[in-house]
């Protein structure tokens, strides 16, 4: 059996939404070089919609595929949906990840959360009431 699903390999080989958004509304970076995976997410937000998203990743195949899948899952979607994206959803959309690689999909969720937190820090008026 291969290490990764076909879906993971497909996203790893052809990652979607790679790059930077120079005038991003929110930027989040998570992970550290000590553990071996770092993800950076750039969000463009218009009204209630994530209009664009790009990522940069230093990491393993599963980290790159998770970043790619996570961007696909939130691009063009309501900010409220992006807020709720879980690592489980990312892993499922990739047809699963090996158990010891789940932490890479957690990073994708955290990178988006971190970028949204950055957005709300800059635009406190947009923060939904909790």
């Amino acid at each position: 059996m291969a290490l990764y699903s076909e879906k993971v390999m497909e996203h790893f080989r052809n990652p979607r939404n790679v790059g930077v958004i120079e005038d991003a509304d929110g930027v989040g970076e998570v992970g550290n070089a000590k553990c071996g995976d770092i993800m950076k997410m750039y969000l463009k937000i218009d009204g209630d919609t994530v209009t664009d998203v790009k990522f940069e990743t230093f990491g393993c195949g599963s980290a790159i595929a998770s970043s790619s899948m996570a961007t696909e899952l939130i691009k063009g979607k309501p900010v409220a949906d992006a807020m709720k994206l879980t690592n489980k959803a990312v892993a499922e959309a990739l047809d699963g990840l090996p158990a010891y690689k789940m932490h890479c999909s957690v990073l994708a969720e955290e990178a988006i959360q971190s970028a949204l937190a950055d957005y709300y820090a800059k635009h406190p008026e947009k923060k939904p009431a909790t």
């Binding site: 390999m9 790893f12 000590k34 071996g36 770092i38 990522f55 940069e56 230093f58 393993c60 195949g61």
Partner: protein, 395 residues
Amino acid sequence: MRIYADNAATTKPSRAAIEAMLPYLEEEYGNPSSLYTLGQRAREAIEQAREEVAAVIHADPRDITFTSGGSEADNQAIRSAAEKGRKAGKTHIISTAFEHHAVLHTLNRLEKEGFRVTLLDVHENGLVRPDELDAAICDETCLVTVMTANNEIGTIQPIRALGELCARRGVPFHTDAVQAVGHLPIDVDADHIDMLSASAHKFHGPKGVGFLYARKKVPLVNLIDGGAQERGKRAGTENVPAIMGMAAALKESAARMDGDAERMRTLRDRLITGLREIPHSALNGDAVKRLPGNANFCFEGIEGESLLLLLDDRGICASSGSACTSGSLDPSHVLLAIGRVHDVAHGSLRLTLGEDATEEEVDYIVRNVREVVEYLRGFSPVWRDLVSGKANFIL
């Protein structure tokens, strides 16, 4: 196309090895412990194999014990020396920080049983210094175990100097020679080696078979109890086909060793020269005192597993010491032992050439590693911080 550049992981079984095994799978299936002719022919065959294996390392065949491979040989060697030490009230063992886990984990277990373990520094070049071993030996030392050649960075230790030192200080000396046997000349007498571990699949023999060389002065303790095979030191019906394959492979490797090594060194140096041109890269381990086929690099700003997967797509089989390839959070203990920081150790690549490697293959590897490293750096946030000056280059 496939370029197999992971010969430190395992090697392709040689034709000689396969042909030596076949009769013992097809016709000569007797149990060497049986007294009828079929069994006794198998017995004679493995005793002949024992002589051939012993001859390659200049050993007495009676000091060779067949095992299931390098790990078992390491475990048995260390446990045996420790047991002898314990009986004499000596519970100090000296080794190095970059041994194979078969050695390190056995030592961890002994520490829990009350042994004290000193791990020698292997310095930035991946070499043990004999004077530091000399200083570490004390009255309680019952074993020194230092690998002949490191499996990741390929550095070759000054085994003869270490062996002489141990002989002079009266301490048993074991060496894990799994990466060296069949590739480098070894003479257990001239090198003052008391115990040595070897594994067939690293020299074009089958997997799951190896041997332990041990002089009489270190009585072996059993890891496996049962029948009287291997002079009572390793129970279990002998893996006759595998033993025959191992002996044939080793005989051939030893006969070709000098010519092979010289050719491989030339190719290895071509590989190293090519990869060094990649900016912000560094060779791991001494450039000269290293295995003929080993090149091990760190590339700053990228992670090793993604590098391996993309090289695999281009037909290149290699390995890495990144955490993500091992399933742990820490990168290779070997790279950390030579002082590579985590950030850089994650971006390591080990290429280990085989005897049949060609110049064209080496050039193909260099070209593709360069392209893949460049591609991965292109969307690495770490690399962006380095080139924009937000972080400082280490390499």
